[in-house]
């Protein structure tokens, strides 16, 4: 289960400020149509639908369809599924953990060279040799870049995520 604060943060992550308003409206309303959400929040209907479908892709909201007896058009009824938010967060954490593990192992196994110019990239040793230790972007000479701090923060984040996912023992 997640609290309201987390719900808001998930909304912010997925769809800016408007998603927060939409999620809060959904939370209070129970089941509600996209038209009603647009009226209540003042957000344009197409944008409301765009965000709702994004939330639907992650199973954070559920959808029920009914037909308008007069016009014959479909009406979409949306409902927040707070229980699914936990699964979404855990899934995202696993995804981020995978990427960070890959990057951490790359940082651990490479030496980097950097010219010091903001906007230029660090270059691994193998590529730096080919350019004779000159920056491929600004042509300045490159010096060894100490990546210990990068390794340290990445390791800390990986440990934190493993702990949060209950994978500490697997890491040992």
């Amino acid at each position: 289960m997640v609290n309201d604060e987390t719900l808001v943060k998930v909304a912010e992550t997925l769809g800016e400020e408007d998603a927060v308003e939409i999620i809060l409206t959904l939370k209070d309303a129970g089941e509600i149509t996209d038209d009603q959400i647009a009226n209540e929040t003042g957000i344009r209907l197409n944008f409301v639908r765009k965000i709702l479908y994004k939330l639907y892709d992650h199973s954070i909201v559920s959808l029920r369809r009914s037909r308008d007896q007069e016009t014959g058009w479909f009406i979409f009824h949306w409902k927040l599924q707070p229980d699914q938010v936990e699964g979404f967060i855990l899934g995202q954490k696993r995804n981020v953990l995978g990427k960070l593990n890959t990057r951490l192992s790359y940082e651990n196994n490479h030496d980097f060279y950097y010219c010091g110019t903001p906007g230029c990239k660090r270059t691994p040793f193998e590529e730096a040799v080919e350019t004779l230790f000159k920056c491929p972007t600004c042509d300045k000479p490159m010096n060894h870049f100490d990546n210990r701090e990068v390794v340290e923060v990445l390791s800390e984040k990986v440990t934190q995520l493993r702990k949060e996912l209950g994978e500490e023992s697997a890491a040992l």
Partner: protein, 125 residues
């Protein structure tokens, strides 16, 4: 009348906020405006699902339960600013692909920001 699952969610949110102090079952149902019968059923259900723990307590000469959260609520804070979270290339991103976390500049910037944040925390070595 609110649905049972909605009440369950509200009850769990309330109990989660009480952390180590817990909350008396009777206080919780007053707070949620539910009947004691409904309340105790939800408490049992939450206990069976492993979300809370109930401990018997004598209160005002009557036996009741104090409810404690068992599980920390899941939080997104640890990954909130990580670029991988909202990255549209996430599916195609892998160790040996053209798009890779190894060379991702957004990830580098994020890691450097983490280093700066760490340095700016007073008292942190």
């Amino acid at each position: 009348m609110p649905r049972r699952s909605d009440l369950e969610h509200k009850a769990l949110q309330f109990i989660s906020r009480t952390s180590d102090e817990g909350v008396l079952q009777v206080d919780l149902w007053h707070q949620l405006k539910a009947s004691s019968r409904e309340g105790s059923r939800i408490a049992i259900k939450l206990e069976n699902k492993g979300f809370i723990r109930r401990e018997r307590e004598l209160f005002g000469g009557r036996w009741t339960y104090r409810l404690y959260p068992k599980k920390e609520p899941v939080s997104i804070i640890s990954i909130k600013n990580c670029p991988c979270l909202i990255c549209s290339d996430s599916i195609r991103c892998g160790a040996y692909g053209a798009i890779s976390p190894n060379v991702c500049e957004r990830l580098t910037t994020w890691a450097i920001n983490l280093i700066h944040e760490k340095k700016s925390v007073p008292g942190d070595p």
